[in-house]
């Protein structure tokens, strides 16, 4: 120890000796880091590829063009064109008739049923709507494009293997032959799937659409926004600007922070016990969904709103108070307008969270099968994520692409909302 130069040389040699190992360890560690980021992003890519890959085809639909002779005797024998009669007429028979004309040599009950099965049950409704809109078509032969059955749709989209043994396929050999004839006649083709956006839910995959769920989600979000924004802003203003520092406000603060981390399903239990059982509000209604989601998103929006208020510099308040405004006036006229963009950003993010939420809605019964498009907040409805859950549970192959397509729509909405929030933040970001 008394001889300084010797240990110095010695220690330096030891440092040098360890360098190779340490550089390798450094590279290894860095590599693990890269792998972790890569894995995370990889999962994201797989998720999106899987969803989009499964779902994009749902935006197209296989349609069959039929020549339908609208026989007056069968749908309006009296000839007075009474809408009630037209409404109740048997249009299915006309469709079947037209199918028989296309394939005159199909005989036997079983074969005929298989033939009629090529087009969707919804075809007769399409025809009815067409006739109701224009009764003058009665007695003529029109060319009508109708949706194909979901199994035909799956076959045309390649999800059913034409080469598979007949027993393993939902499309039988005779149907396959007819489809091939339709193909040869150029009567079967693909078109943009408008039904997906205009229909409510249905037991028939080819008729099922997201309109009902979308409207349900919109009503629910409407209620959520209308309740949570004023409540959260008021709460944030009180806590940030007026609340004295005491136990009560501490309690509120702790409460808000903890509520933000309570599992969403617990809010569903609350909604079930309080809103439905105690206040006997209607089950499955957007109003209850909105109330539950309000309670769930409230902490998020309050926290964001408080942050927005906090970022307004005290000089603004002091300036207002200095010219004789009351504290309430200073907040209402000077602080609040400056904090509003930040509050709106937080609200949009809260709304996006609410839009994607499923579990609490299951609890309050928004999971029922509802074919009608809801017309108000008290109507039974479902919501977009719940519709995804319902379709994901359905066994038919066609629902897989429906589910994925509904997910794509949901993700587009979420992306739009988040983009709006980012835009708002950029636009109104202020540096004091």
């Amino acid at each position: 120890m008394s001889e300084p130069s010797q240990p110095v040389r010695d220690s330096f040699a030891r440092v040098e000796a360890g360098m190779k190992r340490r550089r390798a360890a450094e590279r290894r560690f860095r590599f693990f880091g890269k792998c972790a980021v890569g894995l995370g992003l990889g999962f994201l890519v797989i998720l999106f590829v899987s969803i989009v890959g499964n779902g994009y085809s749902a935006f197209w639909q296989t349609r069959i063009t039929l020549e339908v002779t609208i026989d007056e005797a069968s749908i309006d024998p009296s000839g007075v064109r009474d809408p009630a009669v037209l409404q109740a007429a048997d249009y299915g028979a006309l469709i079947k008739q037209s199918m028989r004309e296309l394939f005159p040599d199909v005989s036997g009950r079983r074969n005929r049923i298989a033939l009629y099965g090529l087009v969707s049950n919804g075809a007769s409704f399409d025809l009815r709507d067409r006739i109701l809109a224009d009764p003058s078509l009665i007695g003529t032969t029109i060319s009508l494009s109708v949706a194909a059955d979901d199994d035909v749709d799956m076959l045309m989209k390649g999800h059913i293997d034409r080469g598979a043994p007949e027993a393993d396929r939902r499309i039988k050999d005779n149907q396959l032959a007819w489809i091939e004839k339709l193909e040869a006649d150029d009567r079967i083709g693909s078109a943009f799937n408008l039904d997906f956006f205009s229909n409510g839910d249905s037991r028939e995959p080819e008729l099922a659409g997201i309109r009902g769920a979308l409207m349900g989600s919109i009503y629910t979000l409407f209620v959520t926004l209308g309740l949570s924004f004023p409540l959260a802003v008021a709460a944030a203003v009180y806590l940030e600007e007026f609340a004295p520092k005491n136990r009560w406000t501490d309690l509120i603060e702790v409460n808000i922070n903890n509520l933000a981390a309570v599992p969403s399903i617990v809010f569903g239990l609350l909604g079930l016990a309080v809103f439905i059982n105690f206040f006997t509000l209607p089950r499955s209604a957007p109003i209850v969904g909105g109330l539950v989601l309000t309670l769930m998103t409230l902490p998020t929006i309050i926290i964001a709103s408080r942050a927005a208020l906090k970022s307004v510099p005290p000089s603004i308040r002091e300036g207002a108070l200095g010219v004789g405004a009351s504290p309430m006036q200073a907040v209402m006229y000077h602080v609040l307008p400056l904090a509003l963009p930040g509050m709106l950003t937080g609200t949009i993010i809260g709304m996006a969270q609410a839009l994607g939420e499923t579990a609490p809605l299951l609890m309050i019964g928004m999971v029922a099968f509802i074919a009608d498009v809801p017309a108000g907040v008290f109507d039974p409805a479902t919501a977009l994520p719940v519709q995804i859950y319902l379709w994901a549970d359905s066994p038919e192959r066609a629902y897989v692409e429906k589910t994925s397509a509904a997910i794509i729509v949901l993700l587009l909405f979420l992306a739009a909302m988040n983009a709006l929030a980012v835009l708002l933040r950029r636009r109104f970001e202020r540096r004091w």
Binding site: M1, S11, F12, R14, V15, G18, R23, R30
Partner: protein, 295 residues
């Protein structure tokens, strides 16, 4: 591959750009014509020899053409007003500036005759030879023992636990801290007083047996009694190490150093024997600073 670690540092400016920014210089009173250093920049037995070192932070020229030696077994004090570049220059000596975003260093810095700026030099063994003590005591949130053992452990200096303990004990002894902490080696280092923490950091630095120790205003956060202890320690350490100390206090420079360098707005104005600089400064700026006209 040789410069792997240094590349990591250079490629990775992520240690918060905002955390470290060069200080702004006040260029008001300084006449740019006074280039070139007064006094003898070279030492008879140099440990480190810097020639024409320039440092840029982005567009800012922080150090201009500084040439300076650090001699063996001497304490070199660097003084000057705030933002004069003395800390920046100090950080060049073990390439700590590599971690700063947008900082470029040019020139030649030799350690025992070998250029440490060469691209094939690895900063890791370099920093094992040129240790550093910072302005604010920064013990790791570990026990006192582990703080001192940190360097020997990462560099693999001890072959056995007994050897490691010996290094820790002798480092603490050399840092004049052993008597105060020998009963509580397992206590956290952050629990010590400020002065003790700084001596712990010095013990930590000497545990890897460096050749040069850089000290960046080591006493500025300490009270006078702790400062006195550290100054005494510096004087004792001089026997085994070369020490380069940046200080704000001219008294401290006068007390602990053999040579003193005066920096002003990125220029090295004057270097010389400490006794001579404080008694008979040759440059007007040095004299103004020492006599307290500014700074």
């Amino acid at each position: 591959m040789e410069a792997q670690a240094s590349q990591f540092m250079a490629e990775n400016p992520e240690h918060a750009p905002a955390r470290r920014r060069p200080a702004e210089a006040d260029s008001a009173t300084y006449d740019r014509e006074h280039r070139g250093t007064v006094g003898e920049v070279r030492s008879e037995v140099p440990r480190m020899r810097c020639t024409a070192v320039n440092v840029h932070y982005g567009d800012k020229h922080a150090i201009r053409d500084v040439s300076l030696d650090v001699g063996k077994n001497e304490v070199l004090a660097m003084i000057g007003p705030s933002g004069c570049g003395k800390s920046t220059f100090l950080r060049c000596l073990n390439r700590m500036n590599d971690t700063v975003v947008g900082c470029r260093v040019s020139g030649e810095i030799l350690l025992d005759g070998k250029d440490i700026m060469a691209p094939d030099v690895d900063v890791v063994p370099l920093r094992a030879r040129v240790g550093m003590v910072f302005q604010k005591p920064n013990p790791f949130p570990k026990s006192i023992f582990e703080n001192v053992a940190f360097g020997p452990r990462i560099h693999g200096l001890a072959q056995s636990q007994a050897e490691l303990e010996e290094i820790v004990v002798s480092s603490l002894q050399k840092a004049n801290l052993w008597g105060e902490v020998k009963d509580r080696l397992a206590h956290p280092g952050t629990g010590l007083s400020g002065g003790q923490q700084q001596r712990l950091c010095i013990a930590r630095a000497i545990a890897i047996q460096p050749e040069v120790i850089l000290m960046d205003e080591p006493c500025s956060a300490l009270d006078p009694i702790s400062t006195a202890k550290i100054e005494q320690l510096i004087d004792e350490l001089r026997r085994n190490y070369s020490i380069c100390i940046v200080t704000h206090s001219m008294q401290q420079a006068a007390r602990v150093s053999q040579r003193t360098a005066y920096f002003h707005l990125g220029d090295l104005i004057e270097v010389g024997e400490t006794d001579r600089i404080f008694v008979k400064p040759q440059h007007q700026l040095t004299e103004d600073y020492i006599t307290g006209r500014f700074g």
